[in-house]
Symmetry: C2
Subunit: 219 residues, 2 copies
């Protein structure tokens, strides 16, 4: 039986949604690893729409689920309809969308709030002993979901301020290079810095491919 | 010296822009192959904006260059500012955007028109003996650019109607499986069916990785 791995997206584009390269490298590695992929996103408006050429916020309104469907090629479920029982594992790509649309870490830091369905699914996965993989800034989502509940080990690379914010939410940060992963064996959590470090897509891919292999192994 | 390969995008999402998986697999293979990547797109409105979850045209207006910048992570040039002399090779990922925004093949078939800057750059590349790689439906763009000028050999897989439309524009179609490439040695053109056949990202990646290796070899 193929392992069923959820990929939780947060839009489509590094500056206001899921980091596209990270998401696609994840999907390719999952498919090559024999996993079945289930795309998931919350049905809500994005915090921002950013013109990715100029970096300016445009004032447009776009929906996280609808824009995430671009990466999923159409087949994607509202997270409200997905239970931990439906999955053997869950992966969160990064991008500002993770920190803007799944939590509001991008504007509130350690005092951030989390989307209730994202909070539910992550907590149910952890309670059920199911593996979770997070990359780039997405460890902030996991740290927020576990805040006050369980200490998890995570990496976002080596950015001191971001690491401190994760630790303020109760996580333990471990520095890591872009081609490596950090594995919290007790909690079945794997993380990799991806574009928190970069610099290039080939560097990012090395860590993500290791993370996906670990997620499939532990699923 | 690294080979400088242009990646000509047409938006961000299979139904109205560049096919995201094809674009990212291309970029990753170029980076791993030691090439320097130059992202390019036309500065014009998309023919359509399609809700990728429902498949419906939304009536929104989005710009091809701006949306393509999502795949490029910001660094992308207007095709009007790019000369064949700036490049050692050029690759066109597929997606409906190629057939809607670079040409209007998606609605006019063999009678399609082509964006003047796309026409100029492709013709200058071919005249200069520089390699071009096309995948999925993007061979329709190349066939239109070469219409009445030069017969090129291309594949879009095995779809008879699409192949006939390419031949009506003067190209020679060669059937090909998703994990293969067709190489027109005389004109230094490589093509692969990608998501014209699919079905899965791992299948598509096999052909694209071969295409990128061939483009770098011939650049």
């Amino acid at each position: 039986m193929a392992k069923k791995i959820g990929v939780l997206l947060s839009g489509c584009g590094v500056k206001d949604g899921s980091e596209i390269h990270e998401a696609v490298i994840t999907i390719l590695a999952l498919d090559r690893g024999g996993a079945e992929i289930k795309f998931i996103a919350p049905d809500k408006s994005q915090m921002h729409v950013v013109n990715h050429k100029t970096g300016e916020v445009t004032g447009e309104v776009r929906n996280v689920l609808t824009e995430s469907a671009r990466i999923a090629r159409g087949e994607i479920d509202d997270i409200a309809d997905v239970k931990a029982d439906d999955l053997d594992g869950l992966i969160l790509p990064g991008g500002f969308g993770a920190a803007k649309n799944l939590v509001d870490f991008a504007v509130k830091g350690a005092a951030c709030t989390i989307h209730p369905e994202v909070d539910r699914l992550i907590n149910d996965m952890v309670k059920g002993g199911k593996v979770i993989g997070v990359m780039c800034i997405a460890p902030a989502v996991l740290a927020r979901a576990m805040k006050g509940k369980k200490q998890v080990q995570l990496t976002i690379g080596n950015d001191k301020d971001t690491a401190a914010a994760l630790e303020a939410m109760g996580a333990k940060h471990v520095a890591c290079k872009v081609d490596g992963i950090v594995v919290d064996k007790d909690n079945k959590i794997a993380s990799t810095p991806a574009y928190m470090l970069g610099p290039s897509i080939k560097n990012v891919a090395e860590g993500i491919e290791k993370l996906v292999a670990k997620v499939i192994e532990l699923a």
